[in-house]
Point group: none
Chain length 420, copies 2
């Protein structure tokens, strides 16, 4: 079954508010095999609202709407949908008594405007909403289903789970969506695409999306089927193909971010890490410590912007900085080895580079970053030139540093060089 | 003029991704008097995409779309719109050379798939995109304007500002939206609302929105008028009222984030800062260095998770940690004074706390954070208990630390205590 989501409310057409209910609704619908074909946000305007519902009815058998069920003049969803389906609105005295009771419980009198919320289109089923005043409504019309939900997420979510899902489950087929998310770093969107195109094209029943994200490329695989075994087998086969095509560039097969992958590796290996950062300014430490339980593997780090602090905190010889420049392979290595030694950690990371927008030269343009990883067996260094703005360069540098740790574990420290 | 926004991409119809570009686009359009009537999210499907553009063309003179301009098979916006307008697609060799050049500059070869991005519908104007491979496109058709923009926000935003806005400004009416964004920290949404309600309600022509954001509350004021003087006078009057009602809790009147405000203060006063962070794990350093030119005021910082490193790097006496606990006012003060002394900066910040989810006790529950600011005149300390999850507690702690610096400058260091 296919569905569309309509979010109603003029505030959702301002720069301040985003419709977030649709993420929840999409997830819940997908789980029971219902695909969302379109999302529409429309203001509190009767004509535009009516058109949005009419168009959607022409395309799909199921419409889920949120918002516009409030008590005020600009809450028009109830009236508009009743009009569109040629149903009259009738006052439901049970709802009215319930709303009056809610106000009474707060020692307030029900304002007259709230009577609107007790109006129900003929033939609609009432979806009780114990967390708010407006009930949801379930309408069937010529083989179509229209579900009207209140806008506040804390009302919409439980109401959907408790009252809409059971009804939809009776209608939906046994088809379900199965999903895998592969994450890749060190290869851009188009390179990933080129390497895997030949594989996923052999499976036209699987919906494949390649997405560029900061410092990584994400590949989403989705298959809709009622055959669990078939779904698992197909997705496994594609992912096996990807593993060959993308070699060691895949860092996650379940959508977890790179810092989480590294946190798990470090914890599993009972290893610790420290960092001496220049251009990333604490971003690497921040990502490493964003994971709950990070004190198990992260002892500390320094952000040494000035040359003096590179010397004072990571023991980088002043002459080395003088000779090679603060942004150099040699200084990155010295930072990594120095911080590892001083902290006494299994790994030491050193990052130095030019995040921009200023500070670039012809020889060392903005985006030039040197990253080193020191460990008991030695030290590895990578010089990269990252594209993008300051924020993007800093993120990519932290990503590349985390990836060096991942590669180290992958090859048990036996991999001599890391490919870009 | 009225507009619709179409966000293209199957990933935007999954539970993983939300279209956020439309917030930026709405704001920019509103500023030049263009109202957004509808937002549509549609997947990478030629028929559905075509229908979405066709329907929108029937309703409004201006369509702004984002996404679907990538190099892959499922990037269909270009082809679909060309089809719909009966325009042929032609390869533009300038674009092709530009794309090849981008890959060359990164020492990579252009994958063959990227040739798609050089295809341009007949009669389209090219909107150059120096931050990505896909250019934007500007099409005019029978009095309608269609603007196709790339999906990544860091490409879309500057491209829109630099190339689309000037074109739209020539078309738009003289009515404009005037906007102020007041940012407040240390007061929750409902407290802000309660203090300012009486002020903004006196100006019904001004649309006022109070929004909760991490570590701060934002108040948006919007007025639509063709009278610049009237707009300015009205907004000034409201903001003056807010300044009285919210006292020193306002940190920004132009929407700039707190780290930017602090960066400006430090630079202006020729002051420097350093930080010794525990629970924030580098987040404060990262925020301070996220601003271009941060090396002027930021020399360095340490992330000292372990007690040993608190002693080694910030000179916190081991006995003090033993006696008072790592999370204590005394250790925060010692961190701030120690890092200031070692770095030789004007200010030193010390942060120690329990970000959770583990580590809380009855006496010091999750969310307990001590923050200290040391300067030549002495040291201030604040103990706070922040609500929320790990990420939220860490952000609020970094926000509170930055706010202590702001308050110090505001009162020239003469303010003895800081209110929560």
């Amino acid at each position: 079954m296919k569905a569309e989501i309509i979010a109603v409310g003029s505030e959702l057409l301002t720069p301040d508010r985003l419709d977030t209910n649709s993420l929840f609704l999409t997830e819940e619908l997908n789980k029971i095999g219902i695909e969302v074909l379109r999302k529409t946000v429309v203001g509190d305007n009767r004509d535009l609202l009516s058109e949005a519902f009419r168009d959607a009815l022409n395309r799909v058998p199921l419409i889920i709407s949120s918002g516009g069920l409030g008590p005020t003049e600009d809450d028009l969803t109830r009236e508009t949908v009743a009009d569109l389906l040629h149903r009259s609105l009738r006052r439901n005295d049970n709802i009215l008594r319930y709303i009056e009771g809610r106000f009474r419980a707060l020692n307030r009198e029900m304002p007259e405007v709230n009577v609107r919320q007790a109006m129900v289109p003929e033939g609609a089923e009432i979806l009780e909403n114990p967390r708010g005043t407006a009930p949801g409504l379930w309408l069937e019309d010529g083989g179509h289903f229209i579900v009207l939900l209140p806008g506040p997420p804390r009302e919409l979510k439980p109401l959907f789970r408790e009252q809409v899902l059971p009804r939809l489950e009776r209608l939906a087929s046994s088809t379900r969506m199965f999903h895998r998310e592969i994450r890749v770093t060190g290869l851009g969107e188009s390179h990933v695409e080129q390497r895997i195109m030949g594989i996923y094209k052999r499976f036209p029943e699987v919906n494949t999306t390649v997405l560029a994200a900061p410092g990584e490329t994400q590949v989403h695989l989705r298959i809709w089927t009622d055959d669990v075994e078939h779904a698992k087998k197909t997705l496994d086969e594609i992912v096996s193909g990807f593993e060959i095509a993308l070699t060691d560039r895949i860092f996650s097969q379940d959508g977890s971010p790179l810092e989480e992958v590294i946190a798990a590796e470090l914890t599993m290996h009972n290893a610790t890490i420290s960092a001496a950062e220049s251009c990333t300014g604490g971003l690497l430490a921040q990502r490493l410590t964003s994971i709950a339980g990070s004190s198990l593997y992260f002892l500390g780090g320094v952000v040494c912007y000035s040359n003096e602090l590179k010397t004072a905190w990571a023991g980088v010889p002043a002459e080395l900085i003088q000779a090679k420049g603060a942004v150099s392979a040699e200084v990155a290595v010295a930072l990594a080895e120095g911080i590892r030694r001083r902290v006494g950690s299994t790994f030491g990371v050193g990052i130095t580079g030019i995040a921009g927008p200023g500070g670039g030269t012809e020889e060392k343009p903005v985006g030039t970053v040197h990253i080193a990883l020191a460990h008991a067996g030695g030290v590895k260094e990578r010089g990269v030139r990252f594209p993008g703005d300051r924020e993007s360069i800093r993120f990519q540098a932290s990503q590349a540093a985390l990836d060096m740790v991942r590669i180290h574990f992958l090859y048990n420290g036996k991999q001599p060089s890391i490919r870009a």
